[in-house]
């Protein structure tokens, strides 16, 4: 009986650890950002396997930012990219790079970008 009790305690601890891990990994952790370089070059964003790579892009305010999306995922989920707060959207045809221009006057802040269904998600940070 003691053994079963002990086993359950270990299990409880394990599940609690998993929950803490989920909260930290998916909500609290901020992925490493890719900084946009000089204004001339586009930041390339790969759309494949349910993720934008990079998923977090940092950019300095006052310069236009060019994002070049390349969609590899044939699932229709990936067919649009929306910057809801900036009122910017683009259709992403398969295997064809699409440029999205973020205007220089975009105020500082965090802007999420996603597919229509929020399955693909990324963040643009303007500083």
């Amino acid at each position: 009986m003691q053994g079963v009790m002990g086993f359950m305690l270990v299990l409880d601890a394990l599940v609690v650890a998993v929950i803490v891990f989920i909260i930290w990994w998916f909500w609290l952790y901020k992925p490493k950002a890719v900084r946009s370089g000089n204004s001339a070059a586009a930041v390339e964003v790969l759309v494949a396997d349910g993720t934008y790579t990079p998923a977090r892009i940092e950019h300095t305010r006052g310069q236009p930012l060019l994002l070049r999306f390349l969609r590899r995922d044939p699932s229709p989920c990936a067919e649009k990219v929306l910057f809801t707060d900036l009122d910017i959207s683009a259709d992403l045809p398969l295997e064809q790079p699409v440029d999205v221009l973020i205007p220089a006057q975009t105020p500082a802040g965090e802007y999420g970008f996603s597919c229509q269904m929020q399955m693909y998600r990324g963040t643009l940070v303007v500083k």
């Binding site: 359950m8 349910g50 009122d87 045809p93 440029d99």
Partner: protein, 754 residues
């Protein structure tokens, strides 16, 4: 990644190049863009061909900065390539579903019939081991994309639908394999393998995605219909010869021939011939529009009767049709506030479900000695949770609703306008050009003395010939209509010493006579007595006509009354507004009497007269203060501040100016019916979104607890994980199908027959 990007030459249409010197300016501007290897401008075609890796937006910006217009010329983008890709993906989804079903279904059916060997014999375990391997093959072939997606998202600190499916089916497979290899790990009761569940779930979800994809294709039908309006070829007159060329080769300023029944290729101006053109596909206007020299024709519309020549003015992405397509596309991917709420929920949805699944596992293990129950409950929670239905709810309805509106000639700029339209209580309409045609015409000529009416009109026309007042145009039109033999020269030749008296009228000498033409105040300033006509003047004003007095040599000679006629369908449209419970307010700079007369003709509830243009926005604000949600309908130019101030601004377009910045909604057809169409479609779309969101929330709120086994203590039943898979596949399909239902929506009483 840079080397993976295909670098194709970009072809741009360049507008505004008037001379060969512009070529160098544009070429230099293009070459200065980083990444441009080569830039060549073709002056004759008004195009630029750019090679290199520079992005198109940067090229367009460079040309715009240099003072020209530019747009990318795309090879015939009729979406066929996209369709082919989607069809291939659809086929692959069906294939995956089929393979998974081939393994899962026999296992499931045989299990139900009790034909499968138990786990405690050697042959039994061998059979199950084989089943496990077959299921693994299914997981890899049919469900591989879920697992790679889940792994990649996990590494990027994201969780999505793939995560849930991979966790659900993966844990089922692992548990089953463990039971097969070492049955003693779990109590006898729990010795059960769930390979069939894993395979069937994968089959169902792939099958559901395939169906959903088919349904999704239909949501973008409106765009496809618009794109299909563009003909593939055009008949161009080059060197005196008419030749058929692909539409991409038509340049600005080229002359095109349109024969009866043909679709007009690009936008332009008629230079020879006359015809009537069916513009209903763009404006919703049911009657064909007469066209003659100097009139504008729009690409995509159909020439009904005659043959004519026209000069191309806008090509490629600058045509009205291309702008409409772009506007609809943009609006379709926009979301109103209600959709953003769903986004916030779906952003935290998947990790929350993971936590619920973990807690479910724990609680079951504590309460029940058989670990297979815990596993089934946990797996079912993961499988039944459907973030997709939540995520799809808003965008699918918006896609269909915005497309539907475009069919009626109503261009909705963004999702917010759609949501606001659903809440409106009051519509403020501008009088001139909105309720009325905006083109004053002479309705009455009254002679007061010895001069016949035709001569009075002739004198007035002579005096007004030099004026730019809208009144002058009305008088000249009336004179020309009654004297077809006269040209402009005949009128202007006889007027001398023309003088405009600001705000009152004009005076001039005609054939040695001094003629005054203006309002009562002008006559009184000249000492001319107007007493005897006061009653007539009041009566005319009461009929919404503006009386203008004509005096010859200080003697009152006649009255010419001018009116801005009410559009024939305004009354019916306003009745429709009342039918859907809206108050209609008319705003105008005109006098109260004239405004009241127009209001009475069309059934307006409240009149705001004598409002200066700059004060219209304040009046709109006053109404909002009273708690009304206000739509403003105007021409989009003079009314811009009021349109911007209102909750939803409607611009009544003339058919060609599509993208009116100050308006939330542009009506292609110059009729108030468009306002009601827009409101009805908005309400239907919003209702559809609410149904979808309610369905998706309700489904998850009900499904997840049931999957977790909440019914077990009450009714002793557990949800079968395969049923959960079917429910999950169905839920997104239901959302998309419900959105598609909107395609069948028809606005009531369109008034198109009136």
């Amino acid at each position: 990644m840079a080397q993976q990007v295909k670098q194709q030459p970009v072809r741009l249409s360049v507008g505004g190049m008037s001379c060969a010197g512009c070529v160098a300016t544009v070429e230099n501007a293009l070459r200065a863009v980083p990444g441009v290897a080569e830039a060549n401008v073709n002056f004759a075609e008004h195009t630029a061909l750019v090679k290199g890796s520079a992005p198109v937006v940067a090229l367009v910006q460079a040309i715009t900065t240099a003072g020209y217009e530019a747009a990318e010329l795309t090879a015939d983008d009729d979406g066929s390539e996209k369709e082919a890709a989607e069809f291939a993906y659809y086929r692959s989804l069906l294939r995956r579903a089929g393979v998974a079903a081939l393994v899962g279904a026999p296992l499931f059916v045989a299990g139900l019939l009790g034909l499968l060997p138990p786990l405690d014999s050697f042959t039994g375990r061998l059979f199950w081991l084989f089943a496990g391997v077959a299921t693994l093959a299914v997981l890899i072939y049919s469900g591989g994309h879920f697992f790679t997606g889940a792994a990649k998202s996990f590494l990027a600190h994201h969780a999505n639908m793939d995560t849930l499916i991979a966790m659900g089916t993966g844990s089922a497979w692992l548990y089953s394999l463990a039971v097969v290899i070492q049955p003693r790990l779990v109590p006898t009761l729990a010795q059960h393998a769930y390979f069939d569940a894993a395979a069937v779930i994968i089959a169902l979800i792939n099958f559901g995605s395939a169906l959903e994809m088919r349904a999704r294709g239909r949501t973008s039908e409106a765009i496809k219909r618009l794109i299909s309006l563009r003909p593939k070829t055009a008949r161009v007159v080059r060197n005196g010869e008419e030749i058929d060329v692909p539409i991409e080769d038509v340049g600005v300023d080229e002359t095109l021939r349109v024969r009866p029944g043909e679709r007009i290729a690009v936008d332009g101006i008629v230079i020879d011939g006359h015809s009537s053109v069916d513009e209903s596909m763009l404006t919703g206007e049911p009657l064909p529009v007469a066209k003659q020299g100097g009139d504008e024709v729009v690409g995509g519309t159909v020439n009904v009767s005659g043959s004519f020549l026209f000069q191309a003015r806008r090509i490629g992405s600058q045509t009205v049709l291309a702008q409409i397509v772009e506007m609809v596309r943009q609006a379709q991917s926009n979301k109103p506030a209600i959709g953003r709420l769903a986004d916030r929920v779906s952003a935290v949805f998947v990790p929350s479900v993971l936590i619920i699944a973990a807690l479910t596992l724990l609680i079951w293990l504590h309460l029940y000695p058989d670990p297979s129950y815990a596993l089934v409950a946990c797996m079912t929670v993961l499988i039944i949770a459907c973030p997709c239905a939540l995520g799809l709810a808003t965008p699918m309805s918006i896609m269909v609703g915005v497309g539907k509106a475009a069919e009626y000639g109503v261009l909705i700029r963004n999702g917010e306008a759609l949501q606001q339209s659903g809440r409106l209580t009051t519509v403020v309409v501008d009088k001139t050009g909105t309720v009325t045609s905006g083109k004053p015409t002479v309705t009455t000529v009254i002679s007061l003395g010895q001069w016949p009416e035709s001569q009075l009109l002739g004198l007035a026309a002579a005096v007004e010939a030099g004026s730019e007042h809208p009144l002058a145009a009305a008088v000249l039109d009336a004179f020309r209509a009654s004297n077809p033999a006269h040209g402009d020269s005949d009128i202007t030749a006889v007027a001398q010493d023309f003088e405009a008296i600001s705000g009152h009228g004009v005076q001039a000498r005609v054939d040695g006579q001094q003629v005054w033409f203006g309002n009562q105040r002008l006559m009184e300033m000249q000492g001319i007595d107007c007493q005897e006509v006061t009653a007539q003047l009041h009566q005319l004003a009461g009929e919404a006509r503006t009386p203008v007095l004509l005096a010859i040599d200080k003697q009152l000679a006649g009255i010419i009354a001018v009116a801005d006629p009410v559009k024939p369908d305004s009354r019916a449209a306003i009745r429709r507004m009342h039918d859907i419970g809206l108050r209609v307010v008319m705003i105008t700079g005109d006098h109260q009497a004239t405004a009241d007369a127009v209001a009475a003709q069309v059934g307006i509830d409240e009149v705001l007269a004598d409002v200066l243009p700059q004060h219209k926005a304040d009046r709109v604000a006053d109404l909002q203060q009273r708690g009304e949600v206000v739509a403003m309908v105007g021409d989009g130019i003079n009314d811009a501040p009021a349109l911007a101030r209102s909750n939803v601004g409607f611009a009544i377009g003339s058919g060609t100016d599509v993208a009116i910045e100050s308006a939330d909604i542009t009506l292609m057809r110059g009729s108030l019916h468009g306002v009601v169409d827009a409101l009805q479609i908005s309400r239907a779309t919003l209702a559809n979104i609410y149904q979808n969101l309610f369905g998706a929330f309700f489904y998850n709120a009900l499904g997840i607890p049931v999957a977790a086994g909440i019914l077990y203590p009450l009714a002793g039943v557990m949800l079968n994980p395969m049923l959960a898979g079917a429910a999950m596949a169905l839920s997104s399909l239901t959302v998309v199908s419900n959105a598609n239902r909107l395609r069948l929506y028809k606005v009531s009483g369109t008034g198109q027959q009136e």
